[in-house]
Symmetry: D2
Subunit: 342 residues, 4 copies
């Protein structure tokens, strides 16, 4: 597809970071055991365990985000147990009822920034009083959120405390975890300390595809591979996921890619801020949501490709600019050039 | 993984045929729309439509076999509708109850060779008489079967007739469809004429991963993408599947790879037949099931890696030899050399 | 349970109207076919068909409300199809996620009075734009609602029009349908003209238990008995339900009981209005929600049993008074006596 | 329904034993708490606990057999866990896939008499070897079985041992438990000693409807009421079930009714044995399966109503005679009279 526009639609518009493709090409004809029981999956899992500082964590390499979410929740919950989440949560809006299709109700609460607070958890929890209602059992957060916002380490630990108090599990959807870590004070080692389970997103941070599910809570580990297989999430050539995460967790590549994407997003943000542009949400991750005059948008689309998010006024629309490992370095200068002529 | 043994365990032990990896590498940084709505998926689907001679077929690229099966059956059936299948069917044995997890009962019937006949379908059908029992609605066959056997074109059309008579759908799991077509008189154009839907297996015939679901029956097409997404089977970077199937369906690569795998398997079979070896099942596909003295097996394992299938007598075991696009040309000679010394 | 208090907690606190018990006692040892395939179920269904003016309606006698709702929605929807309902809807709050347990998402919208409007339906519908989201397919209303409010005939027909426009099904939970009909201008014949399916509640209007599902839309009728059986809702002694509904639909008993309950509730409401009491919701059905000073409540509980609904201010609580076929005639006078002394 | 034939079709063809109807009529207008949280449910549960000798058993009153089975299995199993049962098991044949509809696979094994043995359990268990297959977790038996056969106490304890060895749960469907106890050496106290959970059938032994679920295994007790509600099995007027089981477990009524039904069946069996008739299954419960010449069947149908079971030869059919609390005393003499004239 020959084109001259610069793509800011998504962080999953290109195949994979060259380090990953090279790795696969190099290992192409080396035969390995199937279903993730191979040495490279072992190596990748070991690297992740070192990074997060938990030698006993279970690591499972899965094929995609919706699949990871539905497998985890189906594995962790009994039929009457429900999930507390933000109204904007990916599982609540953009997974075609995948969690409900495994039988579980979502208890969604409105938020302004896509983030849950301990108080919100309490509000939802308190409403479910007896066996005529579902029983809240798991709190789902995404980090970065669907609005590009992030949790601080303090916020994660506060949620942990609340979950402990209410006997709830805390699960994190990390589809954009790299970007979140690169934009916050949260360190890898904070994750197993505050969460029962989470996944590390590969698809949106340089992998061809794949997410690494990390299960910290001992009671959630049993038979996870059965659930993975049952829900269609166990890749025959599991070593493909092993290669990718082994590469991503070598030499700090995972965060390097995320930081680069964030930095470019920061650059775009800076250009817009300098022109006094307002934003739909305050973000420091790889997603920028400027509110732009429609006339600007038309002109920008001549050189940049991006999606609308929502109409804000009669003459303005919020759009979404997304950067990734693949966004060309030159985009900030080109964007500044273009914006400054508007 | 450096090794000197020749791998005959599986047809999914290596990454992908070089034509596929090259294609992805070449297209690596070309941005494309997500979720399979891109031009290469379009091109791949068009090539498949031409091959099967049905311009109106719906084609969906999915991530794996269990996922393809459970998505299709969940999409095609109402809750009380059941699936007729062979006792050995992959969905009945090796998918961890994936179909039941979507709510449907399997009505399995014993077979000697993994193949269903119209008479077997009738037997199962006739037992389900009223609303206290499930209602048979879909016949599931695999081709090649789990035992490496294949259907003839005549057999497929006979099943079609039976299904029409009993108002049943006919679905084919084509995880090893390439090998089946290369080993039988079934042509691509016979598939849409005899089946309501089927999938073309990529994982076991040279792809990194992926299966192409083909829906022929108009009444089954509606909203299939919703089901795909809901069950976690919609790949964000859907174009990865597009690239692979576009390559596999260019210049006849798909059948070329299957024929090559079958030819090597034929070679191994010939070596064994020449020594008077019996076989568990009569196959002409890429899976060979010789019954071997245990002493032979020990010796063969010094140079070849393969799995046991079942113990046949006190001194003999049936083993499974599987060939693929990646099996080295030299294997037949080496195998003959080794067997002839036993 | 000997007691002197008058029970206003529920409309399902006693066994059954004597006409129903007498009928069962009289027919006790007459053997009949099982599972609802008997003559009295036939007779009861025929009476209902006459009442609603639809000779072609399918009638199924079910055991309870949650069961009726989950069977109907599981029967009517494909896996990715969702239900639009009020936030207060019984299926959303008080059925322990029964509908989600069959795999379907509920799309709930806040309402002040428990009633959906065409505009609300549109709002929810418009948000679901593609296959990454569930597909709205059915609108669930309850009449009377969980807050005791009712739909007018005009409102039902408006919802019908909206549903037709958006290709949605309209389903009514009639757990308290008797009370709703007795308190509104809706006639029996308006129901099949405005709804695709609905159930007529027996449990809360004089039956031991049981609800009559009425399916009007031809496309929803197929195989409903399979779904009923599969979800555990097919009573072995189905004739018990037949006896009850045959009695309820003889000589207008169903509406007679509902009118009586409403009339007593009206009496209680009048007593409270005369003292200037405010109400949580404006109702004319058999549920009254007065907001009372806590001191009053304490005193009233000496002679009447009822449940709190919610705290309204530091000194006031909304309570729920429910009347039924079993509420003694004398309650209004006693209540007036008691309230007027407060 | 006026008729002169004697009904031997089912043990659920009439309403209820008079002791039960009288009880309900007597208590009719006494208001009680809903959903089984009333004093009579408490009393009935206490009586059952005394009978089985387990003060700590959890007792839940449910509405019917299919409902009881699906609620229990959904409550006890994780999604990938499967049920071992006889091919003839009610859950496998006659519940319209109710257990699969909750997501679980049944692993059925052929039996001649409907009974499982420890060896059969082992055979099924041994086949499920890894996470590509479901994980056997619960053994389902029915007692009496679908063929009218019963387990001895020794057989129950042997199954218990096997289950302990293989870490399996043992669950008994007691739809016809009364008849089984009355026809075997199994005592009430053997049940909690050998089973993790079971239900005591009311529907087929004199109740209007209802089954009493008994949960002995501590680890299975949690939140069972949530599951009951979620699957539509929680009766609003739960006290109706309380009344019935309180009556059935007063003065030994439950076994008295079962013994009477068995005795009449014995009488019928004796008549047939005296004429040299063969039987499909050897039973001592309330179901008799004689193989009769078709000419006999035609003549018997002039005075007795019963169902065919299966055709056995060109001139013979196995039929099913079922007795109950409601079968008239005179049936044996009439049957003898009729048979002896054939």
């Amino acid at each position: 597809m020959a084109d001259t526009v610069i793509h800011l639609e998504n962080d999953y518009s290109e195949c994979a970071h060259p380090a990953i493709l090279d790795r696969i090409a190099r290992e192409n004809t080396n035969a390995r055991a199937g279903y993730g029981l191979d040495d490279v999956c072992g190596s990748a899992a070991a690297r992740i365990r070192v990074e997060i500082g938990r030698a006993d964590a279970d690591i499972h390499f899965l094929t995609g985000g919706t699949s990871a979410n539905l497998i985890a929740l189906a594995a962790f919950l009994r039929p009457h147990e429900a999930v507390i989440c933000a109204e904007q949560a990916h599982i609540n809006v953009h997974e075609t009822g995948a969690v409900e299709a495994t039988g579980h109700k979502l208890l969604a609460i409105p938020t302004t920034d896509g983030k849950l607070t301990p108080a919100m958890v309490e509000v939802v929890y308190a409403k479910q009083t007896d066996e005529h209602m579902v029983k809240p059992r798991l709190v789902y957060i995404s980090n970065a959120t669907e609005l590009g916002t992030v949790y601080t380490a303090g916020e994660l630990y506060s949620l942990r405390e609340q979950c402990d108090r209410l006997k709830l599990l805390l699960f994190m959807d990390g589809a954009r975890l790299g970007s979140a870590l690169a934009a916050s004070d949260v360190r890898w080692i904070d994750l197993p300390r505050s969460l029962d389970a989470f996944y590390i997103g590969g698809t949106k941070n340089g992998a061809l595809f794949g997410e690494a599910m990390v299960i910290v809570n001992e009671s959630l580990k049993e038979d996870f591979r059965y659930l993975t297989k049952q829900r269609g999430g166990m890749l025959a050539k599991g070593f493909l996921l092993g290669h990718q995460f082994d590469a991503l967790f070598s030499d700090g590549l995972y965060l390097t890619l995320a930081r680069r994407a964030n930095a470019i997003a920061d650059g775009l943000r800076g250009v817009l801020e300098a022109r006094g542009v307002r934003f739909l949400a305050r973000t420091r991750t790889n997603m920028v949501f400027p509110i732009l005059p429609d006339a600007w948008i038309t002109k920008l689309r001549g050189r940049f490709a991006f999606h609308d998010t929502e109409r804000v006024s009669e003459t303005e629309t919020a759009v979404r600019l997304v950067t990734s490992w693949a966004t060309p370095e030159t985009v900030i200068a080109e964007f500044a050039d273009c914006v400054n002529q508007l």
